[in-house]
Amino acid sequence: MQQLAARLARGETAAFAELYDCCANQLHYYLVVRLGARDAADDVLQETFLRLARSQRRFAAVENPVAYAFAVARNEVFRKRQRQGRERALLSAADLFEVTAHDDRQSREAAEVAAEALNRVSEEQREVIVLKFYSGLTFREIAEVTGVPQGTVATRYRAAIAQLRTFLTKERS
């Protein structure tokens, strides 16, 4: 990661391609969850990488380029929301998960329930859940990305899990 950060700081296009391959899917998913639309996520993902390229020198002081990319993406989400007006994104299973007509009923149901579960928790909790489950970031990295203390991240996570468990129990019953 340090080597990648050094190459990114030097402005190597190949290094940016490597970073893209490394985290674009997770970033895109995070952006879909934050913005509630795949089109918007496409735009913001591109903006995020352009911003990373513009401020390439900052990578020299970055330990984890992936976490840094998430932090930049998060700022881009705020910018976009400021331009378009802040609205809580309602998530659909089709936007979030791979659901096709060929998928079995169980997979489709899991996608529906997971999307509904994410809609049940607050935005802060949803962000922590997505960063933890789908982006594979540690609490420390999530704290860096969101700019809140690690303890707050852990608290949000526990609260979200409790809410999700309650929701799942109700769903099953």
Binding site: T13, H28, V113, Y134
Partner: protein, 158 residues
């Protein structure tokens, strides 16, 4: 992940997230490459601008130093020239004084004028030249200016 949240984990594991559209990658990489190129161009331009500014500054400093040195040298030479001119004037006046008075008076005139020349407290142009003109007029038979007449020491020394 604790055992308590394993059901939540199972739920999210069963739902596979949609990846970023495949067609987005080439567009993003191309945009990044263009951005990096612009960035590198700007950096080169900034470097060239800094170099240009450094050259301009060094030329300016060199010119200022050269002008300063030339100016002080010219002043020094002008002072030296002036003294030379005044010295030859003293010789002429001494000869004139000797022709209208006697040798002793001429020597006193010369000594007085030379002592004024060696007095570096005031520029020769403002003091000695006026004195010389006054003495020349006196030697030509004209009366001394009022300030010389009231200055007994000057007359006595002459």
């Amino acid at each position: 992940m604790t055992e308590e949240d394993s059901d939540v984990e199972r739920l999210f594991a069963a739902a596979i997230p949609q990846p970023a559209p495949a067609e987005l990658r080439p567009a993003v990489i191309e945009a990044i490459a263009a951005e990096l190129q612009v960035h590198a161009g700007n950096r080169r331009l900034a470097w060239q601008t800094r170099l240009g500014q450094a050259v301009a500054a060094s030329v300016l400093v060199s010119t200022a130093t050269f002008l300063g040195v030339s100016w002080s040298e010219a002043r020094r030479m002008a002072r030296w020239d002036e003294r030379t001119v005044v010295r030859s004037y003293v010789v002429e006046l001494t000869a004139a004084a000797a022709s209208v008075t006697d040798d002793e008076s001429a020597r006193r005139v010369e000594r007085y004028l030379l002592s004024r020349l060696q007095d570096g407290a005031q520029p020769t142009s403002t003091v000695t030249r006026k004195d010389l003109q006054e003495i020349q007029r006196w030697l030509e038979g004209q009366p001394l200016a009022e300030r010389y007449q009231s200055n007994d020491t000057t007359q006595e020394r002459i």
